[in-house]
């Protein structure tokens, strides 16, 4: 099978820290790929580089053959992304958020309209299409983000901790959609999560990153065999150790964190 995501010798250095250190891996077309690792291991940095939000210090990343630095626009059309934190406009309605996305990705008006309806029905938000997004619960927002991320028929869907903070019912529902999409449309899924049970259940292949380096890669069976353990959680702890990490936030993130604290205080 051909590779749709290719990461070759990628390094990202900040002033003092090396967030990602000479990382290489490939994801095959149509695969559900789990990207796991402790906090601060380099997961989000890698996703940001793959999705053109950050420039790597060294190395090459490509999506469906398009270099993410040299062919930024072409690469951006290939993926959809659901971020860790919401990225919707709360002052617009659910439908308006979808509409805006359709224009940003230059979709044909009629096709966008029918696809919007189809996707919003899939995530069970069509009845609420004219409600302002700020009135939605966390789970509803996440569902809307997934629908929006799929609107332009991306070949790859990036999901950065898509189930964080959601209840078991919503998590279950989300993974069902995602598996459906993968099977029906052959969409490649690249996700990160801290719930290892989820990764074990849905991921075809897994890469484990720690201290900015890939420490293991393979199917969850292979990882278990390699470590002589009987579940992924144990294999994970075997490979990454049991010490708790202090996450160092990148410049922008730490300022955002300070802002969040400032806003909630008031």
């Amino acid at each position: 099978m051909e590779n749709i995501i290719s990461v070759q010798h990628v390094t990202k250095k900040y002033k003092e820290v090396i967030a990602v250190n000479d990382v290489s891996f490939e994801v095959r077309k149509g695969e559900i790929f789990g990207f796991l690792g402790p906090n601060g291991a380099g997961k989000s940095t890698t996703i940001k580089m793959l999705t053109t939000l950050l420039l790597p210090t060294e190395g090459k990343l490509s999506l469906a053959g398009h270099d993410v630095i040299k062919e930024q626009h072409a690469a951006r059309k290939i993926f959809g992304i659901v971020f860790q934190d919401p990225s919707l406009d709360g002052d617009l309605t659910a439908f308006e958020n979808m509409q805006l996305h359709a224009v940003l990705y230059k979709l044909d008006k009629r096709m966008a309209a029918s696809r919007t309806e189809e996707l919003m029905k899939l995530v069970e938000l069509w009845d609420r299409k004219n409600s302002l997004v700020k009135t939605f619960s966390g789970g509803m927002k996440r569902r809307l983000e997934i629908a929006r991320g799929l609107l332009h028929h991306p070949q790859i869907l990036f999901l950065d901790e898509p189930t964080l903070g959601l209840d078991a019912q919503t998590r279950n529902l989300l993974w069902n959609y995602i598996q459906q999409l993968n099977e029906r449309e052959g969409m490649t899924i690249f996700f990160t999560t801290h719930y290892l049970g989820e990764a074990e259940a849905v991921a075809h292949r897994i890469a484990l990153i720690d201290h900015g380096k890939i420490v293991a890669a393979g199917t969850s069976e292979e990882l278990k065999q390699q470590t002589g353990t009987d579940n992924l959680e144990k294999a994970y702890l075997e490979l990454t150790g049991t010490s708790v990490r202090d996450e160092t936030l990148s410049g922008a993130d730490s300022k955002k964190e300070a802002m969040r604290r400032f806003m909630t205080k008031r």
């Binding site: 939000l53 951006r76 992304i81 971020f83 919401p86 406009d89 955002k256 802002m259």
Partner: protein, 248 residues
């Protein structure tokens, strides 16, 4: 083009839905207009300078636009904070388009506020010199608003938190406003103030407004236009530059 339109439309919808904020933002300049206008009117007239209400209206209209536009960048901070920013950053559109869509939205809101204040002033007896002048002044309102929104967007792109943004803009807005001739004529002020006013781009905006609305000019309309155009180009370029450098 479509992208710029939808990003502009987004700002218009948000503005329309902001409800009370729309009304509140007009109160401050209105108080300036009424309190200072009627407060100083008789003294101004005794000094032989004519009606102070006539004199102050162009300044207060410019003030409304200045205050609305210079804090525009706060919306960019909010977009960063609430995450919507990332949606535009990963989309296959250029940063210039994103900047322009938002900035045109902000400028439109600034000009609307300015025009609303102008109409309120009409009710209180302000009478413009002629109709052509009113249309000319709208042109200057657009220039002023675009320049200030560009500047503010650039600052918004540079910083990530509201306290820094407020510190940077507050630091500038008060001297810009009070040292611009918005509230007093520039011809008989001390030399130092005169120098400061003559390097303050806002002075030229206010002079242009005054020239077109009540036919009184300090620098001359051509000079006003040239200085404002230059300012607009520089601030727009600054904003585009800062937008292309945003990383998530």
């Amino acid at each position: 083009m479509n992208t710029i339109y939808i990003l502009w439309l987004r700002q218009m919808k948000k503005y329309r839905r902001s409800g009370l904020r729309m009304v509140l933002s007009i109160i401050q300049p209105l108080v300036y207009f009424l309190a200072l206008g009627y407060g100083f009117n008789s003294i101004f007239q005794q000094a032989g300078r004519g009606s102070y209400i006539q004199f102050i209206v162009p300044g207060v209209v410019a003030q409304t636009i200045l205050f609305t536009s210079i804090f525009w960048g706060a919306n960019i901070i909010f977009d960063k904070q609430f995450g919507f920013h990332k949606e535009t950053l990963v989309a296959p559109v250029s940063r210039i388009t994103v900047m322009l869509g938002g900035a045109l939205g902000g400028a439109t809101i600034g000009v609307i506020q300015g025009i609303v204040l102008f109409f309120i002033a009409l009710i209180f007896g302000f009478h413009p010199y002629n109709l052509a002048g009113v249309f000319t002044s709208v042109g200057f309102m657009i220039m002023l608003s675009l320049a200030m929104v560009s500047f503010s967007s650039g600052i918004g792109a540079m910083v990530n938190d509201m306290p820094s943004f407020m510190a940077a803009t507050n630091f500038l807005v008060v001297p810009l406003f009070f040292l611009s001739g918005s509230m007093y004529p520039l011809d008989n002020i001390p030399g130092v103030m005169k120098v400061i006013a003559s390097v303050n781009p806002l002075s030229y905006a206010i002079d242009a407004m005054r020239s077109s609305l009540i036919n009184q000019s300090h620098f001359g309309l051509t000079t006003d236009f040239l200085v404002m155009s230059g300012t607009l180009v520089v601030l727009f370029a600054f904003s585009v530059f800062r937008f292309t450098r945003i990383e998530a």
